[in-house]
Amino acid sequence: MSVLIFLDQADNNIKKSSFEAAGYGAAIAKQIGVAAEAIVLGTVNDDLTTLGQYGVTKVHTVKNDALNNVDAQVFTKIIADAATAIGATVIVFSNNFNGKAIAPRLSVRLKAGLVSGAVALPDTTSGFIVKKNVFSGKAFANVSINTAIKIISLNPNSFSVATTSAMAEVIEFATTITDAKVKVTSTDKVVGEVPLSEAEIVVSGGRGLKGPENWGLVTELAKLLGATTACSRPVADIGWRPHHEHVGQTGLAIAPNLYFAIGISGAIQHLAGVNRSKTIVVINKDSEAPFFKAADYGIVGDAFEVMPKIIDAVKKMKGIS
């Protein structure tokens, strides 16, 4: 018996959200008294023995370039084979793009109940109950998984990982790789910026900034803080900023440590995408803006006057003059 953790990669490096999944899976393994094992598909540059520091004892690898692009069908088959081979009773994914593609298929394949978007360790005192986000971050559901094998996908940035100096054993997993029916013909990535879904700090602008020519206030602060930039829906719809920056109910839902909102009123649909952020800062000249009710810190004031001062203060704090 064991917990199997799927660790996904981007550009031959294991993703941050997967390290969280590793720590989370290892914590479950400890809780139910079994070993934590991981599986990595494709070729990665990481030294996989270091996964031991998250509590993983064995890492199963299938080193094949054909697995550097994710085809959910191909991946599901291999992960199901590995889960069966090692007798996994719990399988953990990150609830990221790849997790959302693979975990539901695996649930059907293994007849294993799936909870996606978990935010805490399962309650195993009687049964197996997993807390997850529902109603777009406005509530939690405690979901009981009633099958012998359980699958959990963990929301990014919702579990703090503790590390040790242990090392993991790396083993090649012998399997057959089926042909991908989904052929990737090209990829287009924003280079040099942390993806929004993984960002710890997000600086975001809304219509209050009046036009794309004023976005320097957002990008300069973001650069100073090592943050990723985002925007509200109207801003993406008017075309001031690219669609992939849109956070909110119909855009991307994020949960950074700091969400810094400039000139965004905080409509309920916007809040649904950012309300899981640990700290929310709102700069808005309208003291009645609904966002202040959801914020931790705020300034009622004109962004064009306030932001340059904030940028200067951050520079001073960072020792940049």
Partner: protein
């Protein structure tokens, strides 16, 4: 070309979220219900656009829900579905729902199955992948663009920090999100026409459920915003650094 679009009923985006019966049930009293926005704006409207480009296309809608789902499915018909099937069951278990949809999809022999990327209530993002596995079909999740090229689909999907273009032979299951299409408002002709479009109600097949909701919780209330004077924005930076410790 036959397209199956999966439709779910969700509370309106502005609905108050509260629970009843000792926090075991969503308090539905007074809640206005809508078509799940991802199902409507992106999956359904893109299917309608494909039909507008090729009149020989048939759009079938499927939903799993009780009779109170009928107004939602009629609205989807008003937007442009040709006919609808409602599976007369109420469930929050993704596997049960996906199994019901898959049994309809198997009978219908569809070239395309569209779902929204997730519902805005239970946020499972699971139905598309489960249906694909049940049908042994390829699945492209989180699609932002979809075009047809003969019997192939060219799909752009979101990946971490960007997007990728992929090509897949039909039939395929696709989960749809922003970018696929633009929201539409049903017109009077559509609304009138929807009344006479077929809405077939079928009883659910016997299927397993894998999960059940034990209870709901609301997040703890925020302590309240700490306001800093606009004359002293440096104080905000100090608080974020020293108190919140996030920068």
């Amino acid at each position: 070309m036959k397209i199956l679009v999966c439709i779910s009923k969700t509370p309106d985006t502005t609905a108050k979220i509260a629970f009843a019966d000792n926090n075991t049930k969503f308090a539905a009293d007074g809640v206005q219900w809508i078509i799940n926005p991802y199902d409507e704006w992106y999956a359904l409207v893109r299917a309608i656009e494909l039909k507008e480009a090729d009149a020989a296309t048939a759009i079938h809608l499927v939903t799993v829900g009780l009779a109170d789902t009928d107004p939602i499915i009629r609205k989807a018909l008003a937007l442009g579905g040709d006919e609808a099937i409602r599976i007369n069951a109420d469930s929050h278990d993704s596997y049960y729902i996906a199994s019901q949809i898959a049994s309809i999809a198997k009978e219908g022999n569809y070239d395309l199955v569209f779902t929204g990327k997730e519902t805005i209530d239970y946020n499972g993002s699971s139905i598309g992948g489960m249906v694909a596995e049940l049908l042994d079909l390829p699945y492209v999740s989180l699609a932002t663009k979809f075009t047809l090229e003969g019997t192939n689909a060219i799909i752009i999907r979101e990946i971490e920090g960007g997007e990728e273009t992929c090509k897949v032979q039909l039939p395929v299951v696709v989960s749809c999100q922003k970018g696929m299409a633009e929201q539409r408002i049903p017109n009077m002709k559509g609304i009138m026409g929807a009344r006479s479009k077929p809405l077939k109600v079928v009883e659910p097949a016997a299927m397993d459920t894998f999960t059940s909701i034990a209870s709901f919780d609301l997040p703890p209330a925020k302590a309240g915003v700490k306001l800093v004077s606009a004359d002293n924005p440096e104080e905000l930076v100090r608080l974020l650094h020293e108190e919140a410790k996030v920068i």
